[in-house]
Symmetry: C2
Subunit: 251 residues, 2 copies
């Protein structure tokens, strides 16, 4: 993968990469999709390079699709990272040896890369992590349990979550993070997880329904302990309308 990019480096925007923070939600846990290559002990954000004939947003979509198989996903650029030293450590001879890349060509890879951060919200259950080649491991990691990441990827992840928290005040969230049918407590746990604090059940219900993007289904969740919670779905039209027009409230 890396070798093929370096061999075809003429076709890629030099010194520029994209890193994606892919959020999922499962078991009341905020998850992050991370990758690990066999030559490294550390995890990394899934990322890639930008073909010269592709818009950066499109390149991000491609990366996301490549790692998750998903399409039509909520994807948002949040920040660009470009300190001089950000990928200094990345240029290790080990990596080049591993990929059998001559030192001369490795210079392309060794230079400072400016990386554009995107974050995505995806449906955990519909996501099939797709490693590129047998040297790669792709896995969902609990956000609480994210280990050290390569380079400044931890910083990028933190900034993504910070942005998501802020955008929670501006756009409704959940459409891509939850399955088709979900319960209010599930949605609330999602909000609580993103925000990192508890919310009052009754007030949450009032606020979230007031937005007018939920459809109460005539159906209850089955096979659950205790009282069966009602199922809801998003009213897709209204949801998209609110995404466009913005939310005028905060949490």
């Amino acid at each position: 993968m890396l070798k093929s990019i370096i061999d075809n480096r003429e076709n890629y925007q030099p010194g520029l990469s994209i890193d994606c923070v892919i959020f999922g939600f499962h078991d009341n846990q905020l998850k992050v999709l991370l990758i690990k290559t066999k030559h490294s002990e550390e995890w990394a954000l899934p990322g890639g390079f930008v073909p010269v004939d592709e818009d950066i947003d499109q390149a991000a979509v491609s990366i996301l699709h490549g790692r998750t198989g998903l399409e039509g996903i909520f994807l948002r650029q949040f920040s660009t990272f470009g300190t001089v030293k950000r990928n200094q450590d990345h240029f290790s001879n080990k990596v080049l040896e591993f990929y059998e890349i001559p030192l001369e060509e490795g210079k392309w890879y060794a230079s400072r890369f400016v990386t554009i951060g995107y974050y995505a919200l995806v449906d955990f259950l519909q996501t099939v992590p797709q490693p590129e080649g047998k040297n790669e491991i792709v896995e969902w990691i609990d956000h609480d349990a994210v280990p050290d990441l390569i380079l400044d990827h931890k910083e990028i992840l933190d900034k993504a979550l910070e942005t998501l928290r802020m955008e929670l005040n501006l756009i409704p969230v959940g459409y891509n993070l939850l399955p088709e049918k979900f319960t209010i407590p599930e949605l609330q746990k999602l909000y609580e997880t993103i925000l990192g604090r508890k919310l009052d059940r009754r007030n949450f219900l009032r606020k979230i329904t007031a937005i007018g993007i939920l459809t109460k289904l005539d159906e209850k969740k089955s096979n659950v302990a205790h009282k069966a919670p009602n199922l809801y779905s998003f009213d897709r039209d209204k949801y998209n309308e609110v995404v466009r027009n913005g939310l005028h409230q905060g949490w």
Copy 2:
């Protein structure tokens, strides 16, 4: 300028630029600092390239300093632009002829540039527009009267203002846009100008003072028509503290 960059293109991050939207405020008008090169009829945002040994944030600071002479300015990255066609038009033979750049070297310049947008808030009266060389004109233009800009610079400008409006809900604004001493009505006009709508005087006073960043001076503005308004200044410590901790309200 451009020629010297192309001659030294090894020292710059390839395919990457920075564009700054520099806001000022004067005569109750939101102003934008724009530049025009003699070979072009169109205005542009002040921008530049990124030295390989400089952090992108630092490069933005340098560009800002170069065009305004100002330092220690409120400067914030807001978005990165990178559609394939964004600077297609920029590669005109006219430009290369003008700068006496051989076509071969011009290719560097012709490729797609991804540009990182920064916006700055500066004190209009302390800003001395500084053209780089005699081919450049640097001028404050009323935001209302901004003409067509080159490439996607209009889009970048719009996005900057949109971000600024949003950030008005998160951070206090004014420290860099107003002179040392100012009146509440002036501050209010600044807010109204950024937001593009009128605010109620009494409610504005209550809200802005509640933030606790203003110091009422024992001094009135002199030589003004009608009732002399009180002068205020920012409490720099508290101002910075609020910038750090964020504002928990909205307009």
